[in-house]
Amino acid sequence: MRWGLEDVRVRRGRTLALDGLTMPADPSLVTVVVGGDGAGKSTCLDVLVGLVEPDAGTVRRPAKERIGYVPATAGLYTDLTVQENLDFTAEAYGLSGSEYHRKAAQIAERVGLAGARHRLGSQLSGGMQRKLAVGLALLHSPDLLVLDEPTTGVDPVSRAELWRLISAAAAEGTAVAVATTYVNEAARAAYVVLLEAGKALASGSPDDILDAVPGAVGAIQGAERPTPRSWRRGAGWRVWAPTGMLPDGVRPVDPDFDDAVVIAALARQRER
C-alpha cells in the first residue's frame, strides 16, 4: 500500500466514526468508498488528506501540496469565472508561466469549458460545477486525488463524464480515492470499501467482493416475504440463504453488487 489508511480509529464523542478501517489508495488505481449518509465516508477521506487526526492506526499520504481534494459541498468559487478559478488555484499551488497555461487549457478542454472561460461559476450547471472542481484539483498534477461524493445529484450523462475524468487521472498515474452513495459506482473501481457505521462490511476488488458473497442468492416473484432474509427487487424478492440451501421455488441467481451490499449488512447483523 503506497497511500491509504491502515487500521484507523477515529473517536467522535462516545461513538467511533471509524472503527479499524483499512483503505489503500495506490498510484494508477481508483479506490471507491461506498456507504450511506453517516457511514463515515467523509471522515475516512478527511483522515486520508490530513484534515482529521486519527486516534489510532497509520495513515500514509503524500506531502500536502501533492494532494488534490474536492469536498462534498465545494471545490470552486461560484462568484469567480472559470478562468479566475483556474488562475486562483494555480497561484495557490505556485504554478505559473507556459506550464500553467498549457495545463489550464488542457483542463478547460477536458471538462468541456474551453469556450466558457469567462462564465461565472454560479452560471454553470451542477454537473459542470463538479467537473470544474475536479479539474481544479488536478491542475497541479497531484499524486493523490481525493473526491467526496463528486457525483451525488449529478445526472447520468454528467456522471459518465466525471468518471471519465477520474479514470483519466488514474491512467496518468495518480492515486484516486472517491466516496459515493451510489452502489453501482463500485463496479468502476479497482478497489472497493463498503462502509457502514465506520467499519468495512467488505473490501477488495469488485470481483473479489462478489466472489466472497457467502451462501446462495435466489429470486422469487410474489407479494409475500418468502424468508426473513429477503428484500425487494422490482416486483419480486431476492432471497439470501447463508447455508447455501435456497427454499423450494426460489430460482438461484448470480449476486450483483446491490445484493452483495445487502448481504454484507445482513451478515454483519447476524454476527452481533
Binding site: 449518509d37 447520468p156 459518465a160 468518471w163 479514470s167 488514474a170 451510489y182 473501481a189
Partner: protein, 287 residues
C-alpha cells in the same frame, strides 16, 4: 388497471422555450414508474403539469380521470428529495402537523415510525428520516405518490426497508412515480420513462430499454496505457473494475488496440442501464 394520471401528447412552452414537448405518460394502480432524464430534460415541468401546478400549452393531462385540480391533488402524496420534515419538531409533532393539514387529526401515528415519536426529526439518521417522510406522505392514504430519489444516501438495510414500504404501497393499489438519477432505483421500477430535451426518448422495462445495446469490454494488463490510448483517440471510455468499457464497435476498438501492439482481450458484452441511458440521451436521433 385503472389509470391514475396521464399525459397525452402534452406540451408546455415558456415563451420561446419548449420545456415539455408532446409527452405521453401513464401511471396505473399498483405500479412503480421511474422517470429518468438529464437535468433540464423536463421531468419537473412534467410533474407540475400532472399535478395541475402548471397548465399544458397543448395536449391533454388527466389526474384521476379529470383535469388536475385541488380536489385531485388531495389524493396525491409527495416526498421531495429534501424530505420536507420540520427538523426542529419531533416525529409526533411532524405527524400531527401533516394530519392537521389533511384534516385527519384523529389518525394515530403509525407503528413503524412510533419508536421515534419523541425524537427531533432532524436528529435521526437519514434512512430513518426518509422512512418518516414516507410515512407522513402516506398519512392521508394517497392513491398516487410522487417520490424524488427516495432511497439515495441511505445505507443497505435502510434502503431495503424503504423499497419494502414502496412495494407494499403499490401492492395495496396505489401508483408511484419515482424521479431519479440513481440507476439502482431505476432498476427497482416496473417501467421506466426516459426524457431528453423535453421529449420521451424511450420507455419500457429496464431490460427493454437496454434492448440489444452492447459495449466493448477491454481487458489489458497495462490498464493505464489502454485507457490513455482510447481516451486520446476520442473513444467514450469508462473504467470498470480491472476492465475498460467503450461505447464503440469491437472492430474499431480492436483495430486501434492491435495497431498500437497492446496485449488485450476484447469482448462484446451487454450494456448496463446507465450505459444505455447515456447513449440514448447523448444521441437522441439514434434512439
Amino acid at each position: 388497471m385503472e389509470v391514475l394520471t396521464e399525459a397525452r401528447n402534452a406540451s408546455r412552452r415558456f415563451g420561446a422555450f419548449t420545456a415539455v414537448s408532446g409527452v405521453d405518460l401513464l401511471v396505473k394502480r399498483g405500479e412503480v414508474v421511474g422517470l429518468l432524464g438529464a437535468n433540464g430534460a423536463g421531468k419537473t415541468t412534467l410533474i407540475r403539469l400532472l399535478l395541475g401546478l402548471l397548465q399544458p400549452s397543448d395536449g391533454l393531462v388527466r389526474l384521476f380521470g379529470s383535469p388536475p385540480s385541488l380536489e385531485g391533488r388531495r389524493r396525491v402524496g409527495y416526498v421531495p428529495q429534501t424530505l420536507g420534515l420540520y427538523a426542529g419538531l419531533t416525529v409526533a409533532e411532524n405527524w400531527a402537523f401533516t394530519a392537521a393539514a389533511f384534516r385527519n387529526v384523529s389518525t394515530p401515528i403509525p407503528e413503524r415510525i412510533a419508536a421515534w415519536k419523541h425524537e427531533l426529526a432532524g436528529s435521526l439518521p437519514l434512512g430513518t428520516q426518509r422512512q418518516v417522510a414516507f410515512a407522513l406522505a402516506l398519512s392521508h392514504e394517497p392513491e398516487l405518490l410522487v417520490l424524488d430519489e427516495p432511497t439515495s444516501g441511505v445505507g443497505p438495510l435502510g434502503r431495503a426497508r424503504l423499497w419494502e414500504d414502496i412495494r407494499y404501497t403499490a401492492d395495496r393499489g396505489s401508483g408511484l412515480l419515482v424521479t431519479t438519477h440513481n440507476m439502482e432505483e431505476a432498476e427497482q421500477c416496473d417501467r421506466l420513462v426516459v426524457m431528453a430535451d423535453g421529449k420521451v426518448v424511450t420507455s419500457g422495462t429496464a431490460a427493454e430499454i437496454i434492448g440489444g445495446r452492447k459495449v466493448t469490454e477491454v481487458r489489458c494488463k497495462d490498464w493505464s496505457r489502454a485507457f490513455r490510448l482510447l481516451d486520446a483517440n476520442g473513444f467514450s471510455v469508462q473504467g470498470h473494475g480491472p476492465a475498460l468499457r467503450v461505447a464503440a464497435s469491437a472492430a474499431d476498438v480492436g483495430g486501434l488496440i492491435s495497431r498500437e501492439g497492446l496485449d488485450a482481450t476484447i469482448e462484446v458484452v451487454a450494456a448496463n442501464l446507465e450505459e444505455a441511458f447515456v447513449a440514448m440521451v447523448s444521441t437522441p436521433a439514434a434512439a
